[in-house]
């Protein structure tokens, strides 16, 4: 119960700070949209290759946009040594992990809600009926990205070149999540339903559960070392 309360308190604080500063969300939103336009002008997406290319392009945009958000995840704590203030308190470190993961998840989902329909419009795709399934797969992939990303952002928190280091250690570890998400989306777009994609969906769900659990369990060592 304490874990839930503390997570909610930290999440409230982060969302309030973001509403006032509007740094992360605006940057992520404009960067994500910009990438879509770059893709739009660079690729000609023939109808027979939609299922193959759409997931990869979408996730490329989410990866870069999400990494931008992760790089700024602990900015509020860096200011005035507020991370010390949190570590000094009787806060469950797992709550800090969950709150930061939740905060980045909220930001990424807000970006995705705009970017995915925009992708459909820019590439003139007709499969609007598949958007709920695409959003569901995207949600599971984003949970995995945010939980692992929060861990990596905390590991690189005190590194001098953290903005460079973060994607270098995050992207290789993200390969299972990216692969499962892209394959899952591809199946949905090709067949029109989950069908064979359930195996990938289960894998994705498994990764989410593992990353979230490991994050809660080891975050105290990560953040205090």
């Amino acid at each position: 119960m304490t874990l839930v309360k503390q997570t909610a308190l930290l999440l409230w604080k982060d969302l309030r700070l973001e509403l006032r500063r509007r740094e992360s969300l605006m940057t992520m939103f404009f960067f994500g949209t910009l990438l879509l336009f770059v893709f739009h002008f660079s690729f000609d997406l023939p109808p027979d290759r939609v299922a193959e290319m759409t997931p990869a392009l979408l996730w490329l945009a989410f990866l870069f946009t999400g990494t931008l958000g992760l790089a700024q995840l602990f900015n509020a704590e860096r200011e005035n040594h507020c991370l010390d203030a949190l570590l000094l308190s009787p806060l469950d470190r797992g709550a800090l992990f969950l709150a930061k993961t939740g905060f980045n998840l909220v930001l990424m989902l807000l970006v995705e809600v705009v970017v995915i329909p925009l992708f459909w419009i820019l590439f003139n795709l007709s499969s609007w009926n598949l958007l709920p399934q695409i959003f569901l797969v995207s949600l599971l992939g984003t949970v995995g990205f945010c939980s692992l990303g929060t861990l990596m952002a905390a590991i690189t928190l005190r590194a001098r070149a953290r903005e460079l280091l973060l994607p270098l250690i995050l992207f290789p570890l993200m390969i299972p999540v990216i692969l499962a998400t892209i394959r899952c989306m591809e199946n949905v777009l090709r067949v029109g339903e989950f069908g064979e994609a359930f195996a990938w969906l289960r894998l994705l769900l498994g990764f989410d559960v593992i990353f979230l659990t490991v994050g809660v369990l080891i975050f105290d060592h990560v953040i205090e070392s």
Partner: protein, 235 residues
Amino acid sequence: MHLSTEKLAKAYGFLWALRDVCLDFEPGDLTALLGPNGAGKTTLLRLLAGLTGATAGTVRFDGAEFAPGSIELRHKIGFLAPADHLYEHLTAAENLRFFASLYGRPGDTAAIEDNLTAVNLAARGDEYVANLSSGLKCRLSIAKWRLLQPEFLLLDEPYGVLDGSGVDLLEDFLRAQCAHGGIVVIASHHIARALQLCTRAVILHQGRVTFDERKQQPWPSFDRAFGEFLPRGDS
């Protein structure tokens, strides 16, 4: 509450910032932690607060070993660093409410207003911390720890940014803490003020405790021990 350190040591790479620090703090102790720049004062405060891990030795609260991961003891520890540990884009009142909730202390409007009034910030409770001066931020930090009521309070150079009335507020708060059985350790270069306030002085030099005595009047042993750090011409 009883706090002790046993052969506490901290190294940064090959450099020993602290070595063999053995100290005992009793309830009501108000300790002035003195020493020249680089003596290890802030490192010792951070070790006592559990903000950094020791290379060797232990910190014990009532006999129980305290390490950076020991969450259950954390609501007893406070660390007042002037103008630090406050969120710039939360208001003064929101900062107090946030930290009160984090420490499980009553963070209702009355308690917050009471503590803001005590540090003469009642009229600025709705202002963002970013808009406050360093002195006002330090006052807000005092309000924060008044609200959180830690049993063991550490202060790192609190005098630098405070005006006269701010210093009075701080010292009244620290005396009240000790009167209620709290332990206060204050690291400062404002020797006269710290000595006037303290019940005991500890001098650190090159990471070692070179002096540790309860206050006396007069105090020739302190004058001798501290004399070598004073600027030339000072007495």
